[in-house]
Amino acid sequence: MRLLLGLVFAFTVATVVGLGTTWFALTEGTAFGAITIGAWTAWPKTGTAGVDPYARAAIARNGELPIGSGDGVAFFASNDDSGHVLDGRCDVVLSGTTPQARFWTLTLYDREGQLIANSMDRQGFTSQEIVRRSDGTFAITMAPRARTGNWLPTGGVERYVLVLRLYDTPVGVATRASREAPMPSVATEQCP
């Protein structure tokens, strides 16, 4: 009886620990080889044949197609520079410069990777569309209501994810420091 109880206990622990860590790894995104620059994180290795098993499992579960390393690299941000979660009811300003690339796009998604409906039917900007200052820098405002300049509507959702994709870029697996890849800053300006 004691042996049986012990085995049941051990197997319960095994199930909880095993499936718990798997679930955690899949929902939290624990892929290796991440590059973090400010609020932005990219996993350039996920777009190569050398993708690690954790990234493979996460991709299979989400149904994503990772961007190939010969194509470009995608940087994700779900927080601003000071670590606050990106809130669609606030005004968030993205400003500065982007790393060297032939083109880039900035897109706003919900946490499941779906686009967010809004009256403007605008879900992102490309490097060709934005209005720049005379020195080449730019600012994009994510806000629920119309703003001057480059306005990206959030649709007022509670949480969202920004994805900055660089196409035909030297940024990749070998990139380490922010000096090589100057990413724009993300700052929450005001919240209701």
Partner: protein, 180 residues
């Protein structure tokens, strides 16, 4: 007390094995991975099919870049190698190759291809070895891509720098071909 601690330790170790096993098996058992999702769009194999643009109501693949026109070819090399041709669109065009489980094993863009038309031959390692020597020489100006698996996906992406250019880019993408 020691007995329970040992059982706890054993259970944790076994849990580690359970974790690693589930992580490795998961890609093979996923029913909603990219290949399965795109199979609903591309019902025929070895045929180029445009992927409907991502909208807030519906997007075939999560985290799709809406500035791109996308077409996909679900390939099966078990019978013969396939040829892929795609005209280069105005701004930026890329071709990415994925295995059945969504591993991006190769990607090339229009600048790396260096022509107005991207032309590729896709074959398995075995089929490449079976190529006659002299044919390899005449085919030198065609790019040969080796697929690690017999089935997978070719994804053609063409960039529309402004939304107004999207119809034109879609037309270019529609001219891409994939087949034996």
């Amino acid at each position: 007390m020691t007995r329970w601690l040992l059982l706890l330790l054993g259970g944790t170790l076994l849990g580690g094995i359970v974790h690693l096993t589930t992580m490795l098996i998961l890609p093979r058992t996923a029913t909603q991975d990219a290949y399965a999702r795109l199979s609903e769009v591309a019902t025929e194999v070895n045929k180029m099919v445009p992927v409907p643009p991502a909208t807030p109501q519906r997007s075939t693949i999560p985290f799709t870049d809406p500035a791109f026109a996308v077409a996909v070819c679900r390939y099966d090399l078990s019978a013969a190698p396939i040829k892929f041709t795609a005209p280069v669109s105005v701004a930026y065009t890329s071709v990415s190759f994925y295995t059945r489980s969504g591993v991006a094993y190769y990607a090339i863009n229009d600048r790396a291809a260096g022509r107005r038309v991207i032309e590729l031959n896709l074959m398995t390692t075995q089929q490449r070895e079976d190529l006659p020597e002299e044919e390899d020489v005449t085919a030198a100006d065609r790019l040969i891509v080796e697929s690690p698996t017999a089935i997978g996906l070719i994804v053609l992406r063409a960039f529309a720098p402004e939304p107004g250019m999207m119809p034109m880019v879609r037309n270019t993408v529609a001219a891409a071909r994939c087949g034996s």
